[in-house]
Amino acid sequence: MQLRPPGWETRREAGKLPSMTIVSLRNVQLRFGPVPVLTGVDLDVGPGERVGIAGPNGAGKSTLLSVIATLRPPSSGEARVFDAEVGTPQAYEVRRLIGWSGHDPALFDELSLRENLYHFARLAGLDIAEADKALHQVGLEAAADRRARVCSNGMRRRADLARLLMTRPRLLLLDEAHAGLDADATAIVEALSRRTVADGGAVVMVSHDRQTMGEHVDRVLTLREGTVVP
């Protein structure tokens, strides 16, 4: 089953969108040992799209996201991201276009929030001034020199979002991005996602909370029994 947003084909033909599909999954299957997690997922996400995938806990949402992030090759089927096939060396080249935020912020506990962002900035080949700018944008610069270990989870989540503001990914993957965030942090997620789309990128988010997610995406799909349905 192929899922595309209404009017996608016509918009593409009218030249309003780049022809390249950002995410393209064809009959993607994935097993953990004897347990089938994804049993045949078809999904297309094009530039300028924001797609939400809902499903209960344990449905395989995070696993699907890690396939889209090119971090986990499917057991069978074809997964292409920015036209690079997941599981091949091509995929390594497109990784820097992908930004991922989960409920566990990727911060090193003994480093301060600023040092964490500097670390990510240097690895991404960015100027560290970009890190300071992002900390300012998320409203953390006054707290930036505190060690991540002593920061509240909310602050850590914001620092994680600052990383994504800084690296400016073209494919934004959000895992339960709205869970436990206050209004300000939710607004950051929203701004981040709007900007990604404006840049010609795409957003894929997964959540168990279909209703909340529905307010932030163009269409919501459901992951059920290992497959994506409308």
């Binding site: 890690s66 992030a69 820097r96 990727a106 690895l123």
Partner: protein, 223 residues
């Protein structure tokens, strides 16, 4: 970012973390010193025996505690952190090399503290020109950092990593143990340290080549 600067960045992160957490300096090193002390207590006070086997015991302690340093909890990366680093486009070999360099600094510091303690506790009869043996010794320390970091990567994210990793790779580090400890013996019997230095350099280089070859699949396997 150039490869060399990525290496430096990973090394810097691990050393900064150690400076804050103090896991090697305040926990592993004193434990190593206690291990050194426990041998003479277990042997009984045969001071001649202790001074004869002292340097070898030093190497056994270094060999085993190196794994503790390479697997130190404060340097462990959570799965999500590994994923984010990979998505930033960092070179997996730069990561492995940078983290190995940090582990080497810590292991050499550990050895530098324990060596005088060994001299004090065991009063070994050191042969003429013994400082020469420090060269293969330090090179063996670097090799142990390589093996330990590879072990840490192979077992990244596993629940049993701190016990499993030493089991997997300690046997592979045996050439380093032999070269490090035999360099001194060899000096005592006028054998010179060259063969041992060659052995340890060859092992270090082999480990570097292995590291370069498997850094990518190693990272992919633990994402």
């Amino acid at each position: 970012m150039s490869f060399a600067r990525q290496v430096a960045e990973f090394c810097r992160r691990d050393l900064l973390t150690e400076r804050r957490a103090g896991e090697v300096l305040t926990i592993v090193t004193p434990f190593g010193a206690v291990a050194l002390m426990s041998f003479p207590l277990a042997f009984g006070i045969d001071s001649a025996l202790v001074s004869r086997v002292g340097p070898a015991l030093f190497w056994v302690v270094v060999f085993l505690f190196t794994m503790q340093i390479a697997l130190r909890h404060s340097a462990a990366e959570r799965p999500h952190q590994r994923a984010v680093i990979a998505l930033l486009g960092a070179d997996p070999f730069a990561r492995l090399l940078g983290r190995t360099a940090a582990a080497a600094v810590l292991i050499l510091a550990f050895m530098a503290i324990l060596f005088p303690a060994m001299l004090l506790f065991y009063s070994p009869d050191l042969p003429e020109g013994w400082p020469l043996a420090l060269v293969p010794g330090a090179l063996a320390g670097i090799g142990l950092a390589q093996v330990g970091t590879l072990a840490a990567e192979v077992t990244a994210g596993l629940r049993t990593r701190t016990t499993l990793a030493p089991l997997i790779v300690a046997p592979l580090a045996v050439p380093l143990l032999i070269a490090g400890s035999q360099a001194l013996e060899s000096l005592a019997s006028d054998g010179g340290i060259l063969p041992w230095t060659v052995l340890v350099v060859a092992t270090d280089l082999a480990l570097a080549v292995i590291g370069a070859a498997i850094a990518r699949p190693l990272e992919e396997a633990s994402l």
